[in-house]
Symmetry: C2
Subunit: 375 residues, 2 copies
């Protein structure tokens, strides 16, 4: 702590050990797309979707040996912090940065940034997700190390996922000028961030070979991202500085509770990345899955010869290409195909595969009907 | 009680009030075809399938005003008698004839017959079902009155259901010589009982106009059916007489418990009706449904414009021709059609319509897996 390094001239000259590297796990989301399993009080990252550990537990464990636990921070909403803390006993209260309420990714990152800045203005922070599955942990750790090196040169580094299909569920990042590779990772300047495309555009982008999926994971110096907030989101920056002034004083909680609800919701992509300077992308193949829908989860569960992905006790007769997710009761299926079946204590979803995006409409309907108990 | 009538010469001369007319509700079945709702300890007749009353409650209420409650008997298996008695408080222990275990319809009817014979050897008994739905109660009561008249002439009367489609789920009864009509009911001698046919045969029989479905409901004099047992099932008749000798003595329960397990299982159709003498059929249209499968139940539940039949709380998006039966939790469906969805506390069935007969295989699988808790 408190170690200050000289301004780096070139990363190879740089004493890495003297600048702090923080991992920030973004665990503020709720995620209605995995209803009825995910709920307002049981967000996606807290769920045991793959194996016996929750997505959040996986996210913390992925950092093992790369980050000492005192360099890990979790930003989460007040209503979820107890649940998440209970899941990872190796983290203490000090590891959690609690938002009074969620205001989008930009404010969450800003809040964490002022915490890190107090420790080390030159600190590097990795912004990581709590609801993605990453099969290849070793590769994930390697790309974080490579990204740290790029971040020390002043770049805002985005981790890009090598696209494996023309997905319309992700934003895309267009590669520009190639920079020097780091280890065996290629590094490109970012030419443009693209919103979720239609299928045609997605197909074109994937076949061009110069696009990555936007993983929502970033690595940068704390002072660089604060500069970008200052330049691009000045109103938020002013509000953030109010919180910064109270940081470390008994007023912190009170000020945060007063300021935070006034902050406009904003994502880091729209608010900062699209017009930021010196943005780079490091494409990486690491078995990444955004567990954003029942369909994407199906690909992660053990399957049988009929293409079924099953969690829970099940008897299947003539059942094909069906995701069955439940551990509350026995599920028997006869003569069904291409279904998603999700069984929970108080709600049951049966959905045709390919129509999972309509789950949101169910949630909206419940909201309209005042069924808060099911949200 | 104890009123004895002269032998009837012709039913019009007959003083109806002097011969006892009993209703026997056969409530001994279990029914695996409605799994997971029906269970060994929760037989079909005890279920609230249509409306807020169980099938058994409907069966008793259908007799209102036609049979005083002391003329109603329910034959059931020991393991179900408490459940059924609790459902109909107007019936007392004396209304129940309890079998130590189920041995098929022939022994159940024989056991009831010796009870009735003690009251009146000339008594007429109507053998009725506890798991059929009958929409037109008035017509049902009328046909029971007409059948009583025919039974007094010595006929074994079967109630035939006018077939509305070439069902392969029922046995068929072929009409022979027409007898005098009774009220507005036609009466025919039975030429033959036919087992469940294939679709082709069923279509031929239905279009011929001389077949009825076998409803499993019969009306006859007690001494006539006992004679048939004597003639056609002599071994059973001997066993039944052992029970008869103990009837009304403190030994009854003990003798019944000893004799009953030794009795060979037999249905009244195979054991008696197919080769009985003087069998007639009275065809009747009374909105009859054998609630023998999820598919048949679907026709009885309120439907929506998309052809869905729904019991329980449900949100449907793009859902068609689907039976949803559950009241344990909210059920949401998206983009599904032609399904049967049955949700219970500990088991969930999702089955393509038209494949409901495979539910039995699920039950067999559970049995093989030792999952007695789900049977």
């Amino acid at each position: 702590m408190g170690c200050r390094a000289e301004k780096a001239l070139h990363y190879e000259d740089f004493d890495r050990r003297c600048i702090l590297y923080y991992a920030l796990i973004m665990a503020g989301g709720s995620g209605t797309r995995l209803w009825p399993l995910s709920r307002e009080q049981k967000p996606k990252q807290s769920l045991r979707l793959v194996g016996q550990r929750s997505m959040f537990q996986h996210s913390v464990e992925r950092l093992d040996s790369l980050f000492p636990s005192e360099r890990i921070r979790v930003v989460t909403r007040a209503e979820h912090s107890d649940l998440l803390r209970a899941q990872v006993p190796t983290l203490s209260e000090a590891n959690f940065i609690v938002e009074p309420e969620g205001r989008g990714t930009a404010p969450a990152i800003g809040l964490a940034a002022i915490h890190f800045y107090r420790q080390d203005p030159n600190a590097v922070m990795a912004v990581l997700t709590a609801d993605h599955y990453i099969a290849d942990t070793a590769r994930f750790q390697k790309v974080l190390q490579a990204a740290e090196i790029a971040a020390r040169q002043g770049y805002l580094v985005t981790l890009g996922i090598e696209p494996t299909r023309p997905s319309t569920a992700f934003g895309y990042i267009e590669q520009g000028q190639a920079l020097d590779p780091i280890d065996d990772f290629k590094v490109f300047r970012v030419r443009a961030f693209t919103e979720k495309p239609n299928r045609e555009t997605a197909a074109r982008m994937v076949s061009s070979g110069i696009y990555s999926w936007n993983s929502g994971m970033f690595v940068w110096q704390v002072n660089r991202i604060l500069d970008e907030f200052h330049r691009q989101m000045p109103a938020f920056y002013e509000q953030l500085m109010l919180v910064d002034q109270a940081l470390g004083t008994p007023d912190y909680e009170r000020v945060l509770a007063r300021v935070w609800p006034q902050i406009a919701k904003e994502t880091i992509d729209y608010g900062v990345m699209e017009k930021a300077q010196n943005v780079t992308v490091i494409p990486v193949e690491m078995g990444w899955t955004d567990v954003g829908s029942w369909n994407s989860l199906a690909g992660l569960l053990p399957g049988d010869e009929q293409g079924n992905s099953i969690k829970g006790e099940h008897i299947a007769l003539d059942t094909h290409n069906t995701l069955i997710f439940g551990d509350k009761r026995l599920i028997a299926t006869i003569g069904v195909k291409d279904l998603v079946i999700v069984d929970t204590e108080d709600a049951l979803l049966i959905c045709a595969r390919g129509q999972e995006q309509q789950v949101k409409q169910i949630v909206e309907r419940l909201k309209a009907n005042g069924r808060d108990d099911l949200l």
